[in-house]
Assembly symmetry: C2
Homo-oligomer: 245 residues x 2
Protein backbone atom coordinates (compact mmCIF):
# COMPACT_ATOMS: atom_id res chain seq x y z
CA UNK A 1 0.00 0.00 0.00
CA UNK A 2 1.32 3.37 -1.04
CA UNK A 3 0.42 6.72 0.43
CA UNK A 4 0.31 9.43 -2.19
CA UNK A 5 -1.24 12.81 -2.72
CA UNK A 6 -3.29 14.31 -5.50
CA UNK A 7 -1.51 17.66 -5.57
CA UNK A 8 -3.25 20.99 -5.85
CA UNK A 9 -3.04 22.56 -9.26
CA UNK A 10 -3.48 19.48 -11.47
CA UNK A 11 -7.19 19.97 -11.87
CA UNK A 12 -9.54 20.90 -14.64
CA UNK A 13 -12.46 22.73 -13.10
CA UNK A 14 -11.73 21.24 -9.68
CA UNK A 15 -11.23 17.60 -10.70
CA UNK A 16 -7.70 16.27 -11.10
CA UNK A 17 -6.82 15.50 -14.71
CA UNK A 18 -7.36 11.82 -15.56
CA UNK A 19 -3.90 11.32 -17.03
CA UNK A 20 -2.32 12.86 -13.94
CA UNK A 21 -4.07 10.46 -11.54
CA UNK A 22 -3.25 7.50 -13.78
CA UNK A 23 0.42 8.52 -13.83
CA UNK A 24 0.37 8.85 -10.03
CA UNK A 25 -1.00 5.32 -9.63
CA UNK A 26 1.34 3.97 -12.31
CA UNK A 27 4.37 5.27 -10.39
CA UNK A 28 3.34 3.20 -7.38
CA UNK A 29 2.74 0.13 -9.56
CA UNK A 30 6.09 0.60 -11.31
CA UNK A 31 7.85 1.01 -7.99
CA UNK A 32 6.45 -2.33 -6.82
CA UNK A 33 7.94 -4.22 -9.79
CA UNK A 34 10.92 -2.03 -10.74
CA UNK A 35 9.73 -1.58 -14.32
CA UNK A 36 7.79 1.11 -16.22
CA UNK A 37 4.32 0.57 -17.71
CA UNK A 38 3.99 -1.24 -21.03
CA UNK A 39 0.21 -1.53 -21.29
CA UNK A 40 -1.98 0.02 -18.63
CA UNK A 41 -5.77 0.15 -18.33
CA UNK A 42 -7.57 2.44 -15.90
CA UNK A 43 -11.26 2.61 -15.08
CA UNK A 44 -12.41 5.86 -13.55
CA UNK A 45 -14.61 5.36 -10.50
CA UNK A 46 -15.00 8.97 -9.39
CA UNK A 47 -13.21 12.28 -10.02
CA UNK A 48 -9.98 12.78 -8.08
CA UNK A 49 -9.88 15.73 -5.70
CA UNK A 50 -6.72 17.28 -4.24
CA UNK A 51 -5.67 15.54 -1.03
CA UNK A 52 -4.20 12.29 0.27
CA UNK A 53 -4.93 8.98 -1.46
CA UNK A 54 -4.01 5.37 -0.81
CA UNK A 55 -2.87 3.18 -3.67
CA UNK A 56 -3.27 -0.55 -3.08
CA UNK A 57 -0.84 -2.38 -5.36
CA UNK A 58 -1.11 -6.10 -5.97
CA UNK A 59 1.62 -7.83 -8.01
CA UNK A 60 -0.10 -10.71 -9.81
CA UNK A 61 2.94 -12.05 -11.62
CA UNK A 62 6.54 -10.94 -11.88
CA UNK A 63 8.46 -12.80 -14.57
CA UNK A 64 11.92 -12.27 -15.94
CA UNK A 65 10.79 -9.62 -18.38
CA UNK A 66 7.13 -8.79 -17.72
CA UNK A 67 5.20 -8.09 -14.52
CA UNK A 68 1.41 -7.88 -14.25
CA UNK A 69 0.08 -5.59 -11.56
CA UNK A 70 -3.30 -4.33 -10.45
CA UNK A 71 -4.03 -1.35 -8.26
CA UNK A 72 -6.83 0.70 -6.76
CA UNK A 73 -6.62 4.35 -5.71
CA UNK A 74 -8.88 5.53 -2.89
CA UNK A 75 -9.28 8.80 -1.08
CA UNK A 76 -10.72 9.00 2.43
CA UNK A 77 -14.29 8.76 1.27
CA UNK A 78 -14.32 7.41 -2.26
CA UNK A 79 -12.80 5.04 -4.82
CA UNK A 80 -11.03 7.03 -7.51
CA UNK A 81 -9.41 4.61 -9.94
CA UNK A 82 -8.98 0.89 -10.67
CA UNK A 83 -6.01 -0.19 -12.77
CA UNK A 84 -4.55 -3.29 -14.39
CA UNK A 85 -1.30 -3.29 -16.31
CA UNK A 86 1.71 -5.15 -17.58
CA UNK A 87 5.03 -3.51 -16.84
CA UNK A 88 8.30 -4.03 -18.69
CA UNK A 89 11.25 -2.14 -20.04
CA UNK A 90 11.25 -1.42 -23.75
CA UNK A 91 13.43 -3.70 -25.88
CA UNK A 92 14.08 -1.64 -28.99
CA UNK A 93 14.93 -3.19 -32.32
CA UNK A 94 13.74 -5.89 -34.67
CA UNK A 95 11.74 -5.59 -37.88
CA UNK A 96 9.14 -2.86 -37.97
CA UNK A 97 6.11 -2.22 -40.15
CA UNK A 98 4.28 1.04 -39.57
CA UNK A 99 1.09 2.19 -41.27
CA UNK A 100 0.66 5.94 -40.97
CA UNK A 101 2.88 8.88 -40.22
CA UNK A 102 3.10 11.50 -37.50
CA UNK A 103 0.53 14.25 -37.93
CA UNK A 104 1.70 17.27 -39.87
CA UNK A 105 1.23 20.16 -37.49
CA UNK A 106 1.70 23.89 -37.69
CA UNK A 107 4.64 25.16 -35.58
CA UNK A 108 3.84 25.17 -31.87
CA UNK A 109 3.62 28.95 -31.70
CA UNK A 110 0.89 28.89 -34.35
CA UNK A 111 -1.11 26.35 -32.35
CA UNK A 112 -3.64 27.13 -29.63
CA UNK A 113 -2.87 26.33 -26.03
CA UNK A 114 -5.47 23.69 -25.24
CA UNK A 115 -6.57 24.99 -21.86
CA UNK A 116 -10.30 24.41 -21.62
CA UNK A 117 -12.79 27.22 -21.03
CA UNK A 118 -12.77 26.52 -17.28
CA UNK A 119 -10.07 26.99 -14.66
CA UNK A 120 -7.35 24.48 -15.42
CA UNK A 121 -4.32 24.09 -13.20
CA UNK A 122 -3.42 21.06 -15.29
CA UNK A 123 -2.83 23.18 -18.35
CA UNK A 124 -0.26 25.24 -16.49
CA UNK A 125 1.66 22.05 -15.64
CA UNK A 126 1.73 20.51 -19.08
CA UNK A 127 1.42 22.22 -22.42
CA UNK A 128 -0.90 20.78 -25.03
CA UNK A 129 -1.43 22.94 -28.09
CA UNK A 130 -3.84 22.10 -30.88
CA UNK A 131 -4.10 23.15 -34.49
CA UNK A 132 -6.21 26.28 -34.84
CA UNK A 133 -8.92 24.31 -36.66
CA UNK A 134 -9.23 22.01 -33.65
CA UNK A 135 -9.76 24.91 -31.24
CA UNK A 136 -12.74 26.39 -33.06
CA UNK A 137 -15.22 24.50 -30.89
CA UNK A 138 -14.42 26.92 -28.09
CA UNK A 139 -16.04 29.71 -30.08
CA UNK A 140 -18.89 27.59 -31.39
CA UNK A 141 -17.09 26.57 -34.57
CA UNK A 142 -16.27 22.87 -34.26
CA UNK A 143 -14.32 21.43 -37.18
CA UNK A 144 -17.02 18.82 -37.82
CA UNK A 145 -14.49 15.99 -37.51
CA UNK A 146 -14.14 14.22 -34.16
CA UNK A 147 -10.41 14.82 -34.02
CA UNK A 148 -7.78 16.82 -32.12
CA UNK A 149 -4.21 17.15 -33.36
CA UNK A 150 -1.50 18.97 -31.51
CA UNK A 151 1.73 19.17 -29.57
CA UNK A 152 2.45 17.99 -26.03
CA UNK A 153 5.34 19.27 -23.90
CA UNK A 154 6.38 19.47 -20.28
CA UNK A 155 7.59 22.79 -18.87
CA UNK A 156 11.30 23.65 -19.05
CA UNK A 157 11.91 20.96 -21.66
CA UNK A 158 11.64 18.22 -19.04
CA UNK A 159 12.18 14.83 -20.70
CA UNK A 160 8.99 12.83 -21.22
CA UNK A 161 9.16 9.29 -19.87
CA UNK A 162 6.52 6.53 -19.76
CA UNK A 163 4.63 8.40 -17.05
CA UNK A 164 4.66 11.56 -19.13
CA UNK A 165 3.20 9.55 -22.01
CA UNK A 166 0.33 8.46 -19.75
CA UNK A 167 -0.37 12.12 -19.06
CA UNK A 168 -0.15 13.03 -22.75
CA UNK A 169 -2.76 10.37 -23.51
CA UNK A 170 -5.41 12.32 -21.62
CA UNK A 171 -4.18 15.90 -21.98
CA UNK A 172 -6.39 17.14 -24.82
CA UNK A 173 -10.07 18.08 -24.94
CA UNK A 174 -12.47 15.28 -25.85
CA UNK A 175 -12.57 14.81 -29.61
CA UNK A 176 -16.38 14.85 -29.62
CA UNK A 177 -16.21 18.58 -29.00
CA UNK A 178 -15.23 18.85 -32.65
CA UNK A 179 -17.97 16.60 -33.99
CA UNK A 180 -20.47 19.45 -33.88
CA UNK A 181 -23.26 17.15 -32.72
CA UNK A 182 -22.89 17.47 -28.97
CA UNK A 183 -22.71 20.22 -26.38
CA UNK A 184 -19.28 21.09 -24.98
CA UNK A 185 -19.64 19.55 -21.53
CA UNK A 186 -18.28 16.85 -19.29
CA UNK A 187 -17.75 13.61 -21.20
CA UNK A 188 -16.78 11.08 -18.54
CA UNK A 189 -14.11 8.59 -19.53
CA UNK A 190 -15.07 5.08 -18.45
CA UNK A 191 -11.82 3.38 -19.40
CA UNK A 192 -8.48 4.40 -20.84
CA UNK A 193 -5.83 1.98 -22.08
CA UNK A 194 -2.36 3.16 -23.05
CA UNK A 195 0.26 1.08 -24.85
CA UNK A 196 3.70 2.54 -24.23
CA UNK A 197 5.59 1.63 -27.40
CA UNK A 198 8.90 3.44 -27.06
CA UNK A 199 11.07 5.84 -25.12
CA UNK A 200 10.55 9.34 -26.56
CA UNK A 201 13.49 11.19 -28.05
CA UNK A 202 13.91 14.69 -26.58
CA UNK A 203 11.51 17.31 -27.85
CA UNK A 204 7.78 17.94 -28.06
CA UNK A 205 5.43 15.10 -28.99
CA UNK A 206 3.08 15.13 -31.97
CA UNK A 207 -0.34 13.81 -31.01
CA UNK A 208 -3.42 12.80 -32.93
CA UNK A 209 -6.66 11.83 -31.21
CA UNK A 210 -9.76 10.81 -33.09
CA UNK A 211 -13.03 8.94 -32.78
CA UNK A 212 -14.48 6.66 -35.40
CA UNK A 213 -17.45 5.19 -33.59
CA UNK A 214 -19.82 7.60 -31.88
CA UNK A 215 -23.02 5.65 -31.26
CA UNK A 216 -25.44 4.60 -28.53
CA UNK A 217 -24.38 7.40 -26.21
CA UNK A 218 -20.68 6.50 -26.23
CA UNK A 219 -17.56 7.13 -28.21
CA UNK A 220 -14.13 5.64 -28.62
CA UNK A 221 -11.13 7.95 -28.67
CA UNK A 222 -7.93 6.59 -30.15
CA UNK A 223 -4.64 8.37 -29.71
CA UNK A 224 -1.29 8.20 -31.44
CA UNK A 225 1.69 9.91 -29.87
CA UNK A 226 4.85 10.33 -31.95
CA UNK A 227 8.22 11.62 -30.83
CA UNK A 228 10.46 14.20 -32.47
CA UNK A 229 12.21 11.48 -34.49
CA UNK A 230 8.94 10.22 -35.98
CA UNK A 231 8.64 7.12 -33.79
CA UNK A 232 5.24 6.04 -32.48
CA UNK A 233 5.86 6.04 -28.72
CA UNK A 234 2.36 5.58 -27.33
CA UNK A 235 -0.99 4.35 -28.59
CA UNK A 236 -4.09 4.93 -26.52
CA UNK A 237 -7.77 4.18 -26.66
CA UNK A 238 -10.60 5.11 -24.37
CA UNK A 239 -14.34 4.59 -24.09
CA UNK A 240 -16.29 7.59 -22.88
CA UNK A 241 -19.83 8.90 -22.58
CA UNK A 242 -20.98 11.63 -24.94
CA UNK A 243 -21.46 14.95 -23.17
CA UNK A 244 -24.91 16.10 -22.19
CA UNK A 245 -26.10 19.64 -21.97
CA UNK B 1 -15.54 -16.86 -5.90
CA UNK B 2 -16.85 -18.87 -8.83
CA UNK B 3 -15.93 -22.44 -9.72
CA UNK B 4 -15.78 -22.97 -13.45
CA UNK B 5 -14.19 -25.32 -15.91
CA UNK B 6 -12.12 -24.80 -19.00
CA UNK B 7 -13.90 -27.38 -21.14
CA UNK B 8 -12.12 -29.85 -23.39
CA UNK B 9 -12.31 -28.98 -27.06
CA UNK B 10 -11.84 -25.21 -26.89
CA UNK B 11 -8.10 -25.37 -27.45
CA UNK B 12 -5.73 -24.41 -30.18
CA UNK B 13 -2.84 -26.84 -30.05
CA UNK B 14 -3.60 -27.74 -26.42
CA UNK B 15 -4.09 -24.22 -25.01
CA UNK B 16 -7.62 -22.91 -24.54
CA UNK B 17 -8.45 -20.08 -26.94
CA UNK B 18 -7.93 -16.67 -25.35
CA UNK B 19 -11.36 -15.34 -26.24
CA UNK B 20 -12.97 -18.45 -24.77
CA UNK B 21 -11.28 -18.05 -21.39
CA UNK B 22 -12.08 -14.33 -21.34
CA UNK B 23 -15.74 -15.08 -22.06
CA UNK B 24 -15.73 -17.68 -19.27
CA UNK B 25 -14.39 -15.15 -16.77
CA UNK B 26 -16.70 -12.43 -18.07
CA UNK B 27 -19.75 -14.61 -17.41
CA UNK B 28 -18.78 -14.84 -13.75
CA UNK B 29 -18.14 -11.08 -13.56
CA UNK B 30 -21.48 -10.35 -15.29
CA UNK B 31 -23.28 -12.71 -12.93
CA UNK B 32 -21.91 -10.81 -9.95
CA UNK B 33 -23.35 -7.50 -11.15
CA UNK B 34 -26.32 -8.60 -13.28
CA UNK B 35 -25.08 -6.77 -16.35
CA UNK B 36 -23.10 -7.72 -19.48
CA UNK B 37 -19.61 -6.40 -20.27
CA UNK B 38 -19.24 -2.94 -21.79
CA UNK B 39 -15.45 -2.56 -21.74
CA UNK B 40 -13.30 -5.44 -20.59
CA UNK B 41 -9.52 -5.74 -20.38
CA UNK B 42 -7.73 -9.04 -19.85
CA UNK B 43 -4.06 -9.70 -19.26
CA UNK B 44 -2.92 -13.22 -20.04
CA UNK B 45 -0.76 -14.70 -17.30
CA UNK B 46 -0.37 -18.25 -18.62
CA UNK B 47 -2.15 -20.45 -21.17
CA UNK B 48 -5.39 -22.04 -19.99
CA UNK B 49 -5.51 -25.82 -19.94
CA UNK B 50 -8.69 -27.91 -19.77
CA UNK B 51 -9.80 -28.51 -16.20
CA UNK B 52 -11.29 -26.74 -13.20
CA UNK B 53 -10.55 -23.08 -12.52
CA UNK B 54 -11.49 -20.64 -9.81
CA UNK B 55 -12.60 -17.12 -10.73
CA UNK B 56 -12.24 -14.55 -7.96
CA UNK B 57 -14.64 -11.70 -8.67
CA UNK B 58 -14.37 -8.40 -6.86
CA UNK B 59 -17.08 -5.76 -7.44
CA UNK B 60 -15.36 -2.39 -7.06
CA UNK B 61 -18.38 -0.21 -7.69
CA UNK B 62 -21.98 -0.90 -8.64
CA UNK B 63 -23.87 2.22 -9.63
CA UNK B 64 -27.29 2.66 -11.08
CA UNK B 65 -26.14 2.07 -14.62
CA UNK B 66 -22.47 0.99 -14.56
CA UNK B 67 -20.58 -1.54 -12.46
CA UNK B 68 -16.79 -1.88 -12.32
CA UNK B 69 -15.49 -5.35 -11.59
CA UNK B 70 -12.12 -7.05 -11.43
CA UNK B 71 -11.40 -10.74 -11.55
CA UNK B 72 -8.62 -13.31 -11.59
CA UNK B 73 -8.81 -16.81 -13.01
CA UNK B 74 -6.60 -19.50 -11.47
CA UNK B 75 -6.20 -23.19 -12.06
CA UNK B 76 -4.82 -25.52 -9.39
CA UNK B 77 -1.24 -24.64 -10.14
CA UNK B 78 -1.17 -21.39 -12.06
CA UNK B 79 -2.66 -17.94 -12.64
CA UNK B 80 -4.37 -17.83 -16.02
CA UNK B 81 -5.97 -14.42 -16.46
CA UNK B 82 -6.41 -11.05 -14.74
CA UNK B 83 -9.35 -8.90 -15.78
CA UNK B 84 -10.81 -5.45 -15.19
CA UNK B 85 -14.03 -4.25 -16.72
CA UNK B 86 -17.03 -1.99 -16.63
CA UNK B 87 -20.34 -3.73 -17.09
CA UNK B 88 -23.61 -2.16 -18.28
CA UNK B 89 -26.53 -2.81 -20.55
CA UNK B 90 -26.46 -1.09 -23.91
CA UNK B 91 -28.61 2.02 -24.22
CA UNK B 92 -29.21 2.31 -27.96
CA UNK B 93 -30.04 5.58 -29.65
CA UNK B 94 -28.84 9.14 -29.81
CA UNK B 95 -26.79 10.87 -32.50
CA UNK B 96 -24.17 8.76 -34.21
CA UNK B 97 -21.11 9.59 -36.27
CA UNK B 98 -19.28 6.64 -37.80
CA UNK B 99 -16.06 6.77 -39.81
CA UNK B 100 -15.62 3.64 -41.89
CA UNK B 101 -17.83 0.88 -43.14
CA UNK B 102 -18.09 -2.86 -42.60
CA UNK B 103 -15.48 -4.78 -44.60
CA UNK B 104 -16.62 -5.97 -48.00
CA UNK B 105 -16.16 -9.71 -47.87
CA UNK B 106 -16.64 -12.52 -50.36
CA UNK B 107 -19.58 -14.81 -49.50
CA UNK B 108 -18.83 -17.11 -46.55
CA UNK B 109 -18.59 -20.21 -48.75
CA UNK B 110 -15.83 -18.54 -50.78
CA UNK B 111 -13.86 -17.78 -47.61
CA UNK B 112 -11.37 -20.07 -45.92
CA UNK B 113 -12.20 -21.64 -42.58
CA UNK B 114 -9.63 -20.06 -40.30
CA UNK B 115 -8.58 -23.19 -38.42
CA UNK B 116 -4.85 -22.91 -37.85
CA UNK B 117 -2.38 -25.51 -39.06
CA UNK B 118 -2.44 -27.27 -35.67
CA UNK B 119 -5.19 -29.25 -33.92
CA UNK B 120 -7.89 -26.77 -33.01
CA UNK B 121 -10.96 -27.82 -31.08
CA UNK B 122 -11.84 -24.13 -30.88
CA UNK B 123 -12.37 -23.91 -34.59
CA UNK B 124 -14.97 -26.65 -34.43
CA UNK B 125 -16.90 -24.64 -31.82
CA UNK B 126 -16.91 -21.30 -33.59
CA UNK B 127 -16.55 -20.62 -37.27
CA UNK B 128 -14.22 -17.88 -38.40
CA UNK B 129 -13.63 -17.71 -42.14
CA UNK B 130 -11.18 -15.33 -43.79
CA UNK B 131 -10.86 -13.93 -47.29
CA UNK B 132 -8.74 -16.22 -49.47
CA UNK B 133 -6.02 -13.52 -49.66
CA UNK B 134 -5.76 -13.58 -45.86
CA UNK B 135 -5.24 -17.36 -45.74
CA UNK B 136 -2.23 -17.43 -48.06
CA UNK B 137 0.21 -17.27 -45.14
CA UNK B 138 -0.63 -20.90 -44.43
CA UNK B 139 1.06 -21.89 -47.69
CA UNK B 140 3.90 -19.43 -47.39
CA UNK B 141 2.13 -16.64 -49.28
CA UNK B 142 1.29 -13.93 -46.78
CA UNK B 143 -0.63 -10.99 -48.22
CA UNK B 144 2.07 -8.54 -47.09
CA UNK B 145 -0.47 -6.49 -45.13
CA UNK B 146 -0.86 -7.16 -41.40
CA UNK B 147 -4.59 -7.71 -41.71
CA UNK B 148 -7.26 -10.42 -41.49
CA UNK B 149 -10.80 -9.90 -42.72
CA UNK B 150 -13.53 -12.46 -42.41
CA UNK B 151 -16.79 -13.80 -41.03
CA UNK B 152 -17.56 -15.04 -37.53
CA UNK B 153 -20.48 -17.34 -36.67
CA UNK B 154 -21.55 -19.70 -33.95
CA UNK B 155 -22.77 -23.19 -34.90
CA UNK B 156 -26.47 -23.76 -35.63
CA UNK B 157 -27.07 -20.01 -36.04
CA UNK B 158 -26.85 -19.46 -32.29
CA UNK B 159 -27.37 -15.77 -31.53
CA UNK B 160 -24.19 -13.88 -30.65
CA UNK B 161 -24.36 -11.93 -27.41
CA UNK B 162 -21.74 -9.83 -25.60
CA UNK B 163 -19.88 -12.98 -24.58
CA UNK B 164 -19.89 -14.20 -28.17
CA UNK B 165 -18.39 -10.84 -29.19
CA UNK B 166 -15.56 -11.39 -26.70
CA UNK B 167 -14.85 -14.71 -28.40
CA UNK B 168 -15.01 -13.15 -31.85
CA UNK B 169 -12.41 -10.60 -30.79
CA UNK B 170 -9.76 -13.32 -30.47
CA UNK B 171 -10.98 -15.92 -32.97
CA UNK B 172 -8.74 -15.15 -35.93
CA UNK B 173 -5.05 -15.85 -36.57
CA UNK B 174 -2.63 -13.08 -35.53
CA UNK B 175 -2.50 -10.41 -38.21
CA UNK B 176 1.30 -10.43 -38.18
CA UNK B 177 1.16 -13.77 -40.00
CA UNK B 178 0.23 -11.73 -43.05
CA UNK B 179 2.97 -9.16 -42.69
CA UNK B 180 5.48 -11.45 -44.33
CA UNK B 181 8.25 -10.39 -41.96
CA UNK B 182 7.82 -12.94 -39.19
CA UNK B 183 7.61 -16.70 -38.85
CA UNK B 184 4.17 -18.25 -38.33
CA UNK B 185 4.48 -19.15 -34.66
CA UNK B 186 3.10 -18.38 -31.25
CA UNK B 187 2.56 -14.65 -30.75
CA UNK B 188 1.55 -14.27 -27.12
CA UNK B 189 -1.12 -11.70 -26.40
CA UNK B 190 -0.19 -9.59 -23.38
CA UNK B 191 -3.43 -7.66 -23.12
CA UNK B 192 -6.75 -7.56 -24.93
CA UNK B 193 -9.40 -4.88 -24.46
CA UNK B 194 -12.84 -5.19 -26.00
CA UNK B 195 -15.45 -2.43 -26.17
CA UNK B 196 -18.90 -3.94 -26.62
CA UNK B 197 -20.75 -1.28 -28.59
CA UNK B 198 -24.06 -2.90 -29.48
CA UNK B 199 -26.24 -5.99 -29.46
CA UNK B 200 -25.69 -7.85 -32.74
CA UNK B 201 -28.62 -8.36 -35.09
CA UNK B 202 -29.02 -12.03 -36.11
CA UNK B 203 -26.60 -13.35 -38.69
CA UNK B 204 -22.86 -13.72 -39.18
CA UNK B 205 -20.51 -10.94 -38.14
CA UNK B 206 -18.12 -9.12 -40.47
CA UNK B 207 -14.72 -8.69 -38.86
CA UNK B 208 -11.61 -6.73 -39.71
CA UNK B 209 -8.40 -7.05 -37.72
CA UNK B 210 -5.28 -5.10 -38.53
CA UNK B 211 -2.02 -3.83 -37.09
CA UNK B 212 -0.55 -0.43 -37.73
CA UNK B 213 2.39 -0.39 -35.36
CA UNK B 214 4.74 -3.35 -35.47
CA UNK B 215 7.93 -2.21 -33.74
CA UNK B 216 10.30 -3.06 -30.91
CA UNK B 217 9.22 -6.71 -30.81
CA UNK B 218 5.53 -5.97 -30.32
CA UNK B 219 2.44 -5.21 -32.31
CA UNK B 220 -1.01 -3.79 -31.76
CA UNK B 221 -3.98 -5.57 -33.27
CA UNK B 222 -7.17 -3.57 -33.63
CA UNK B 223 -10.45 -5.24 -34.44
CA UNK B 224 -13.78 -4.00 -35.73
CA UNK B 225 -16.78 -6.30 -35.58
CA UNK B 226 -19.91 -5.35 -37.52
CA UNK B 227 -23.29 -7.06 -37.49
CA UNK B 228 -25.50 -8.05 -40.41
CA UNK B 229 -27.23 -4.66 -40.36
CA UNK B 230 -23.95 -2.76 -40.71
CA UNK B 231 -23.68 -1.66 -37.06
CA UNK B 232 -20.31 -1.62 -35.31
CA UNK B 233 -20.98 -3.95 -32.36
CA UNK B 234 -17.48 -4.46 -30.93
CA UNK B 235 -14.13 -2.72 -31.10
CA UNK B 236 -11.06 -4.47 -29.80
CA UNK B 237 -7.37 -3.81 -29.40
CA UNK B 238 -4.58 -5.97 -28.13
CA UNK B 239 -0.85 -5.73 -27.54
CA UNK B 240 1.10 -8.86 -28.41
CA UNK B 241 4.64 -10.09 -28.93
CA UNK B 242 5.82 -10.79 -32.46
CA UNK B 243 6.28 -14.50 -33.08
CA UNK B 244 9.76 -16.05 -33.00
CA UNK B 245 10.91 -19.00 -35.00
Amino acid sequence: MYDAEIAEGWDIGGNANGGYVIALAARAMADAVGRPPLTLTAHYLSPGKPGPVEIDVDVLRAGRRMATVRAAMRSADTDVLALLGTFADQTPGGPSQIVGTPPELPPIDECVHAAPPVDSGFHHRVRSSVRPIDAGFRDGHPSGTAEMQGWFELPDDQPIDAFGLLMAADAFAPVVFNSGKFPVGWSPTLELTVHVRGVPAPGPLRCRFFSRFIENGMFDESGEIWDSEGTLVAHSRQLALIPRA
